[in-house]
């Protein structure tokens, strides 16, 4: 093999490796790139829990918020339920809110009986899930103590991913 083809081969391998590495890096950080609310003040949203209490996301300022959109018919939402419950327990300084949407009242109450939330959860009574750009469930938004959306994640969370995002909004 000539020196020239060796050089071409080496350049190709280096460039290819940089490309693959950066794509793999992108994959790890993919969810940071989602909807138009990132970096902006969280849109107004309030939910009503099964006991009738209203929880307003904008009233939680001063505390980081994990806002999770879910529905009773959404399988992956059940999957990540345990992860979120553990996260809420381990981070008492972070407010967890479960916004139920595209659901029926009976679906919601049946779900709460089977898999009760350990943090406030219920149907949206003020604001919309569209204002957060939610296109598929589950979707989770991470809001810092200033009320700014720092990150979002679509799809079921695992413990590592949740910790990664919690670190971003930790005060």
């Amino acid at each position: 093999m000539s020196r020239r083809s060796l050089a071409i081969g080496a350049v190709a391998v280096v460039l290819g490796s940089i490309l693959m590495l950066s794509l793999a890096w992108g994959l790890q950080h993919a969810a940071l790139s989602n909807p138009p609310v990132l970096g902006k003040t969280a849109p107004k949203l309030a939910i009503q829990t099964a006991t009738g209490d209203e929880v307003r996301v904008w009233d939680l300022q001063g505390k980081p918020v994990v806002l999770n959109f879910w529905a009773s018919w959404c399988g992956p939402c059940v999957e990540e339920g345990g992860v979120l419950a553990d996260g809420a327990k381990a981070h008492a300084d972070v407010a967890f809110v479960g916004a139920n949407n595209q659901d029926t009242a009976s679906g919601f109450s049946a779900f709460e009986q089977r898999h009760p939330h350990s943090y406030p959860a219920g149907p949206i009574v003020t604001g919309t899930y569209q204002s957060y750009g939610v296109a598929a469930l589950p979707a989770t938004f991470f809001i810092n103590s200033d009320g700014v959306v720092v990150a979002s994640f679509t799809g079921p969370l695992d413990a590592t991913t949740l910790d990664h995002y919690l670190a971003l909004i930790a005060s």
């Binding site: 190709a12 794509l23 793999a24 890096w25 994959l27 790139s33 989602n34 959404c74 399988g75 569209q130």
Partner: protein
């Protein structure tokens, strides 16, 4: 069991299971076909070639079955399937429910696979002339790609996943997708993407079998042309749709997803030209193989970008579970192509000869290829920069100015080459050629003076339009020469004259792009009823507002009078989607420009805010696109029949080497 079938719940479950089963069966058949076909190619066994090919057809049949099942589930509102519940609802119009088939991640992957199977089968049926080994390897590669997609569909992102509880209604389709454009743009672009796999399979097969001759070029070119035409149409439809729906006054935003659709198109444009050098002069074999492979690698790269959500874009799909799989697939394809090119391309390389004169048709094609690959490199760098810099902790993103500055000069050089290249003879250009250049050069000079006198100062217009005019003069010179001396030659050498027609279409597109980029004017105004606004000499009068109700949305309309026409820009509010609002643009076309009105807001007292654009010559882009496709179709449909006819009458259709 007929009794059980009448139970609606079970009936729905059956659709889900049938679809998932078909995907699994397709996966097994695809894997089987890949193994048998590679074995057949290696051992040169005619029997196994047949079996491998039939297994591919069977895998395709399973994909067709899965597609039918998904469409049935969508049309019957079977919300027990997660895919149906997430992408449709009861209020979505039925045509859009059908289109939701390719509206989401899983369904669009199934659509991709379906087109790959169908076009792959067609290419295998047509490949018998290539000889057993090339056809066998091509079948093996196509089957491997098909099996990968079926694997992702069956295991990672199945459109047939069932919900534990069947919801009463679905989430509905994103309002931005609730448009006629949804019915045509995505299926064409996705089909284009899928089609690039076929030239890739045959290029790799030719290398594996050690055969990269003229017959290979003919076969590959035909399918590259299919992919190229689909992609051209898809890109234009996407531009048209963005222009009519998004309401920002433009049609191309250098969004990563637009970029990844453009890059394979550019690489294939280069291949379609350089393949002629191989056909006519036997040169550039390895380069041609490389371009075909590059186009497919760019498709896989693009699929990864679009579907994993790694870069911010308006198009990305929501859930990214398939990202790692596509990254692995991209890696495998890159290594496979690189190893194949490094070890096998030399064997088929042309014997060393005296290099061609730089000022010749060959030279023009090589320069055109270098420029196009240069544009690919610019676009590629802009697309991956957020990732490469992000990995290093820098977070750089480039916007339209980068692309315009970096790709603009290359595109201008390509326009100039369109004026000069077709006039250059093969091998070496002499004095007569230089004389022929007086028409395009003169035309460019005249157009430049006219534009300057008319007061045009935009560099894009002053550069783009004279060069396009020069290239048009070249096309007309060529047509004129043929029609005056041998009128029949336009029919006999239809590929050539069809290509010139496509060039002409490209120039019309270029003029439209230069004029609308360089000459766009916009104005933001707030008007009370009866008040007027004038933009670039076009006067519009706001006449008043009104409400209108549709099946799935309400519209707030503000009417504008423009001459004897009425423009009705509006804001649509989708009640079923929690009050999500969407702008509906009003566009009217005059011979010189589009008047494009967006309703920005409306106050209590009846005053309305508008953003008014005047976009010169945008319609030229759509018209030019139609001419390109017409040129490709006229130049190539029935080409084979024509070849046979000419062979019978012993008329040579290619220059002697």
């Amino acid at each position: 069991m007929p009794v059980a079938l009448r139970d609606p719940a079970l009936h729905e479950l059956i659709l889900g299971f049938l679809g998932a089963g078909a995907l699994l069966a397709g996966l097994v058949l695809g894997g089987f076909s890949a193994l048998l076909s590679f074995w057949a190619g290696w051992r040169n066994s005619a029997v196994f070639v047949q079996i491998g090919r039939r297994a591919f057809y069977a895998a395709t049949a399973m994909t067709v079955l899965a597609a039918i099942v998904l469409e049935t589930a969508l049309l019957s509102h079977d919300f027990s399937l997660a895919y149906v519940a997430e992408h449709t609802d009861l209020s979505t119009p039925i045509a859009l429910v059908a289109a939701a088939f390719y509206g989401g991640q899983e369904g669009s992957l199934l659509y991709w696979t379906l087109i790959l199977g169908l076009l792959g089968s067609a290419s295998l049926i047509a490949s018998t002339a290539l000889g057993g080994r090339v056809a066998a390897y091509a079948a093996g590669i196509l089957a491997s790609i098909l099996a990968f997609f079926l694997f992702v569909l069956a295991v990672v992102a199945s459109p047939f996943d069932l919900l534990s509880v069947t919801p009463p209604d679905g989430l509905g389709l994103n309002p931005i997708l609730r448009d006629g454009g949804m019915l045509i743009h995505p299926p064409v672009v996705l089909a284009g993407f899928a089609a690039f796999a076929i030239p890739f399979a045959f290029a790799s097969a030719a290398l594996l079998a050690g055969r990269s001759d003229a017959e290979w070029i003919r076969h590959t070119r035909r399918f590259a042309l299919v992919a190229w035409s689909l992609q051209s149409t898809g890109l234009l439809l996407g531009m048209w749709w963005a222009y009519h729906v998004l309401g920002w006054g433009g049609y191309w935003g250098w969004d990563p997803v637009e970029n990844v659709a453009l890059m394979p198109w550019l690489a294939t444009t280069a291949y379609l030209h350089s393949s002629q050098v191989q056909e006519k002069r036997g040169r550039l074999r390895a380069w041609n193989l490389g371009l075909v492979m590059l186009a497919f690698l760019l498709v896989v790269f693009g699929t990864f970008i679009v579907r994993s959500g790694v870069v911010p874009s308006v198009h990305t799909f929501a859930i990214s579970a398939i990202g790692p799989w596509f990254l692995g697939f991209l890696f495998a394809c890159m290594v496979f192509s690189a190893v194949l090119l490094a070890t096998r391309a030399r064997a088929g390389a042309s014997v060393a000869r005296r290099p061609a004169d730089p000022v010749s048709r060959e030279g023009a094609f090589v320069l055109q290829n270098v420029l196009l690959v240069g544009v690919v490199a610019v676009v590629f760098w802009g697309t991956v920069l957020p990732l490469v810099s992000g990995m290093l902790g820098l977070e750089r993103v480039v916007g339209a100015p980068y692309y315009e500055r970096a790709a603009g000069p290359l595109l201008a050089a390509l326009l100039a080459l369109l004026a000069v290249g077709p006039l250059l003879p093969w091998r070496r250009a002499g004095l007569p050629t230089l004389r022929a250049l007086r028409w395009p050069a003169g035309t460019a000079a005249v157009v430049l003076v006219v534009l300057a006198v008319a007061g045009v100062r935009s560099p894009a217009v002053l550069l783009g339009i004279p060069l396009a005019a020069a290239a048009a003069a070249t096309v007309f010179t060529e047509y004129g020469r043929a029609l005056l001396s041998k009128p029949r030659s336009v029919l006999v050498r239809r590929r050539r004259y069809g290509a010139y027609l496509a060039h002409l279409g490209m120039l019309v597109v270029a003029v439209g792009i230069a004029a609308s980029q360089g000459g766009q004017q916009e104005k933001d105004v707030t008007l009370a009823p009866g008040e007027q606004v004038t933009v670039a000499g076009y006067t519009l009068t706001y006449t008043g507002s009104g409400q209108r109700q549709f099946g799935d949305h309400d519209e707030l309309i503000a009417a504008m009078r423009f001459g004897d026409r009425t423009l009705e820009p509006s804001r649509a509010v989708y009640a079923g989607l929690g009050g999500q609002a969407l702008t509906h643009v009003a566009i009217t076309t005059t011979p010189l420009a589009d008047v494009y009105v967006v309703l920005a807001g409306m106050s209590e007292d009846g005053r309305a805010s508008f953003r008014v654009f005047v976009n010169p010559l945008v319609t030229w882009i759509w018209a030019g696109g139609a001419v390109i496709i017409l040129g490709v179709v006229l130049g190539n449909v029935g080409e084979r029949a024509m070849d046979a006819e000419l062979a019978r009458r012993r008329i040579p259709i290619t220059l002697p080497a």
